[in-house]
């Protein structure tokens, strides 16, 4: 799997040093929306310039190259163990070559492994596919935005959130209001709704892999995604939290069935540097 390893190293390089075109376009469009001469407009123009420079010079666009999260769709018959080993080897190599910042820290010894591998690091989710091709999606999830995420258990009387989509709307607004500028807005907001804590946190993060134009296929959720984007942008938090019209670039909601007694909502915040990419093999 030597060639696949090289492919994953290149995937790392592409994802760390360039933004997906839809996010870059959204940043540029937001820049034009902000008042001329405002801090918001100059912040977004620095961001746009940074995106260009990073891509042109093959440097990571953010020094926090994050926690690598892999979503792998594996054709029947391919070994998950071998794929995992290949991804780990590629991670070590990419840390040197791109370079990535070593981010894997042992909780007990506080030692940084130095190569972005460790217990449960990077995160790799496997799923079997009936397709003949192997698909590897990679997200580099920055910690500033990861720290800004919130898990909610409904009902929640403090914000009047009941067990319905209006309650979900309130959770998302609460999470963004509390995040302020700390997670590098404009944000891309992933939301997961379902029966258990572990399931909704994963579901929320997975929504961040969706393209900005990709609205939910469920009409009620597509409407909530649109409404939430308008509501969030009326909060006035703005680019980097210094005020302005652009606090989010997109809201993406995913649902699972819930238990009659449980209604969990997870809000995963993605920074403007929403680094995601795909390798098809």
């Amino acid at each position: 799997m030597l060639k696949l390893r090289d492919g994953v190293v290149e995937l790392y390089r592409k994802v760390a040093t360039s933004l997906p075109p839809d996010v870059e376009e959204a940043v540029k469009a937001a820049c034009a929306e902000e008042a001329a001469g405002s801090t918001a407009a100059s912040t977004l123009s620095v961001i746009a310039e940074n995106i260009r420079r990073a891509r042109d010079t093959f440097r990571p666009l953010c020094q926090d190259t994050g926690v690598p999260v892999f979503y792998v769709k594996v054709p029947i018959g391919l070994s998950h163990t071998e794929l995992r080993n290949t991804i780990l080897e590629a991670t070590r190599e990419a840390t040197q070559k791109v370079p990535l910042r070593p981010n894997a820290v042992d909780v007990i010894t506080e030692k940084n492994s130095g190569d972005n591998t460790g217990e449960g690091f990077p995160i790799i989710y496997f799923e079997e596919t009936l397709a003949a091709t192997l698909t590897i999606d990679l997200m580099l999830k920055g910690a500033g935005s990861e720290n800004a995420g919130q898990l909610y258990k409904l009902p929640l009387s403090e914000i009047g959130a009941q067990r319905d989509l209006e309650g979900v709307r309130r959770c998302v607004l609460d999470a963004v209001q509390k995040a302020q500028g700390r997670g590098c807005p404009p944000y891309i907001v992933g939301v997961g709704i379902g029966a258990t804590k572990d399931q909704v946190t994963r579901l929320a993060k997975e929504q961040l892999m969706r393209k900005l134009r990709d609205g939910s296929k469920i009409e009620e959720l597509a409407e909530l995604e649109r409404q939430l984007l308008v509501d969030i942008n009326s909060l006035g938090i703005g680019p980097m939290g210094l005020g302005g019209r652009t606090t989010a670039l997109g809201v993406k909601i995913g649902v699972n069935h819930r238990h009659p007694a449980s209604y969990f909502v997870d809000v995963s915040i993605g920074c403007w540097a929403m680094r995601r990419g795909r390798l098809i093999w």
Binding site: T43, S45, P99, Q180, L235
Partner: protein, 207 residues
């Protein structure tokens, strides 16, 4: 993208500051001022702050003079070169994580500036007012852009123990762009924006 005229306006307005800063330099700065930093500054994030507050190292243990300097919340990507280290990417990290330590670090070591992203809380704001220190906000994620404003990595402290990300680096910067968002007179843009957005949030959930 900004038009040329707007870009020019943005280029002209910032005020150049030479580091280290004096008490007077700092007292003249107001929340909202756009500045360009020039001169030496140091980096420090989670581990440096914890160490400074828990171990209280004497100033002689630290190879750099922190009095009057700016402490930049940054864990850079560095590349080893033949004669030292080159800065690859160096944007700010989230400052609020060191809120429990910063007031004491400002008082103990005489910092005149703290730089990062997202702003800091009441405790730090009070220490800034008492000691004469400001918070410089710079653009999160703009790591390539900001690395290009760092002319040199001059030195490093605690590299072996903390690693490249968490070590204290001494950088020389030129025209390093930032906005003063918390001044030495008790003003905080973060506090104001948070209050306004909370008001709006309450409106949105009372529909």
């Amino acid at each position: 993208m900004l038009g040329d005229a707007k870009r020019e306006a943005h280029m002209v307005s910032p005020r150049n500051l030479t580091l280290p800063l004096s008490a007077e330099d700092v007292s003249l700065l107001k929340a909202g001022d756009i500045v360009l930093l020039n001169g030496p500054l140091v980096t420090g994030r989670d581990k440096v702050h914890k160490y400074l507050v828990e171990k209280r190292p004497p100033k002689t243990e630290i190879p750099f003079d922190l009095a009057g300097t700016v402490l930049y919340h940054c864990g850079p990507i560095m590349r080893k070169t033949d004669d030292g280290y080159a800065v690859v990417a160096a944007g700010p990290t989230t400052s609020i994580r060191v809120e429990m330590y910063e007031a004491e670090v400002i008082r103990q070591y005489g910092l005149r500036g703290v730089m990062g992203k997202g702003g800091m809380g009441e405790k730090t704001l009070r220490a800034m007012q008492e000691s004469g220190c400001v918070y410089f906000h710079t653009v999160g994620g703009a790591a390539a852009y900001l690395a290009d404003r760092i002319t040199r990595a001059v030195g490093v402290w605690k590299l072996e123990e903390f690693g490249t990300t968490e070590a204290m680096w001494l950088f020389e910067v030129a025209s390093f762009p930032a906005v003063v968002t918390m001044d030495a007179h008790g003003n905080s843009m973060h506090k104001e924006i948070e209050a306004l957005s909370l008001e709006k949030f309450n409106e949105l959930i009372s529909k």
